[in-house]
């Protein structure tokens, strides 16, 4: 701060000294905070118990599955047409067995 502020420094210095005499500072006291117990704190064990119960009773551990015949749904699959593979066999003759359509004429000429 500059020297020209001397007057102001004195002003605030006197003010501070005056207030130190006049003002009564209240004793230091921190407010006591009662922390709200979190609802999660109560819900967490309840949730765990519920999950455990569900697993224990809901999953039927180790039991054989027995179904009554009345409620059974039977799906039967049948093949209506017998499997026939003839259609896959070709009637076409092999190329080695091929004869020319004019083959007969040639034979007649030889006779």
């Amino acid at each position: 701060m500059k020297d020209e502020d001397k007057e102001l420094k004195e002003f605030f210095g006197q003010m501070r000294a005056s207030e130190a005499k006049e003002i009564e500072i209240p004793p230091f006291e921190l407010p006591q905070v009662k922390r709200k117990p979190s609802t999660v704190r109560y819900l967490l064990p309840l949730g765990s118990v519920a999950a455990a119960l569900f697993l224990f009773f809901g999953m039927d551990w180790g039991k054989e599955v027995v179904e009554s015949e009345e409620n059974m749904l039977v799906i039967t699959m049948t093949i209506e047409e017998p499997m026939n593979t003839d259609e896959f066999l070709s009637d076409e003759k092999s190329i080695t067995e091929w004869k020319s359509p004019s083959d007969i004429l040639i034979q007649e000429f030889e006779d």
Binding site: M1, D5, F12, Q14, M15, S18, E19, K21, V33
Partner: protein
């Protein structure tokens, strides 16, 4: 920062904190006590957290200032400057109240800046941190406040 460290720091700054609360509440002791307790409550509850980005005093003063602003907004009736009728006082006696009355004639921001600078020995940079104002704005309030207070001091004999 653990609770015991925080408590010891608050205890260490308690007197300064109360004086600052008092100044923020325009010297109403009851309001200052309430504001300080509300500030401490904010700190204890963790609503205001010291992140060690500034000095503890700077942070604490900032918490008190903003708490006081909220408090005054919620209880506006008792705290209008007009109610003090300071300007109508013809002469000031050389008592403790004169300082307050002179300061209360300054605009609020100028008064805050001057109190933080001269009374609480803060630099302008620290004042900017405490008040959340730009350093340039703080400097302007500082210079204008000084000029205004000098004039006021000249008009009265202290």
């Amino acid at each position: 920062m653990n609770n015991s460290t925080l408590e010891s720091l608050l205890k260490e700054h308690h007197t300064e904190a109360f004086l600052w609360a008092l100044q923020c509440c325009r010297y109403s002791e009851d309001d200052a006590k309430d504001v300080l307790q509300m500030s401490y409550l904010k700190i204890v509850e963790g609503k205001a957290r010291f992140k060690e980005q500034s000095a503890f005093k700077t942070w604490l003063f900032s918490v008190i200032r903003f708490t006081a602003i909220d408090f005054i907004k919620q209880h506006p009736t008792n705290r209008s400057l007009e109610g003090l009728e300071v300007a109508e006082e013809p002469e000031f006696e050389t008592t403790e109240t004169n300082y307050k009355q002179l300061l209360l004639q300054l605009p609020e921001r100028q008064r805050e800046v001057l109190l933080l600078a001269f009374y609480h020995q803060m630099t302008l940079t620290v004042i900017a941190e405490t008040t959340g104002l730009h350093i340039g704005t703080v400097r302007t309030h500082y210079e204008r406040g000084k000029a205004a207070l000098r004039k006021l001091i000249e008009t009265v004999e202290i």
